[in-house]
Symmetry: C2
Subunit: 150 residues, 2 copies
């Protein structure tokens, strides 16, 4: 897919995300659709699969090295077509239930097939060879988001 | 905040999400802004904090009980003002790095203060008293997403 098409796809995905978030809509109109207002309805997002990686970097990995790895991870969006979006962050939780994990990375794909293509892509394999040895622990979890709506 | 205002806020958040996803934009226009095309720039989302919970339910918890707990979790969006959106899913990964976790729950807040308010809210405390004992293991991770852009 050319970059222009990929860009259009990303915008489509963004609006899909926006639409699905709007499902949490408390408007009278929605309630009038014959639903009880206290009924919890949820529906699976169409065609979006999220790939979540929780990481704890080894203590000896210097912060500039961590930064380089994060940029390398983000750069996979440029190199692997089915990877549509990427975000990351460090833990700011106050409940002390983060089990030592320091970083989270969340990428978005259109399908589980897209994730399979990503996993076997040479750019991902090369990056994994640098990234995984820097981690003390890691969890990888893929899911098709089911969004809550009233 | 009344439901109408909350609804507007959710829509705003959705568009904020859409805008931030659009930052992963491969258009010529963006590259012409004097950035090298292989430069990785990332920026922290303004005012969004994600609250991610990875769970492994105990083997003896029946599936209808799990379903009830998931609905109870989703229903917190109705009860706790700073909780703006909720989605969940089960693991569909093929890498076998999910470390036994079976479910993920992701909620969206506007601030870390919002999460603090959520944590101490009676509805959350009550729900936690039912939910946590059903889990064999759990990770809770809060982060301010930094979104990748070219």
């Amino acid at each position: 897919m050319c970059n222009r098409k990929k860009s259009q796809k990303v915008v489509q995905l963004a609006f899909q995300e926006a639409r699905s978030l709007k499902l949490v809509d408390f408007s009278k109109k929605q309630r009038q659709r014959g639903r009880e207002s206290d009924t919890v309805l949820m529906e699976e997002s169409k065609g979006v699969v999220k790939h979540v990686l929780l990481a704890k970097f080894k203590g000896e990995i210097p912060s500039d090295e961590i930064e380089k790895l994060i940029k390398g991870y983000a750069n996979l969006v440029n190199l692997i077509e089915p990877m549509k979006a990427f975000e990351w962050g460090t833990d700011v939780s106050i409940e002390n239930m983060h089990q030592g994990f320091t970083h989270i990375f969340e990428s978005t794909f259109e399908s589980t097939e897209g994730i399979a293509e990503y996993i076997s892509h040479p750019a991902h394999v090369d990056f994994g060879g640098l990234f995984l040895p820097a981690l003390e622990k890691v969890v990888v979890f893929d899911y098709k988001p089911t969004v809550f709506r009233l």
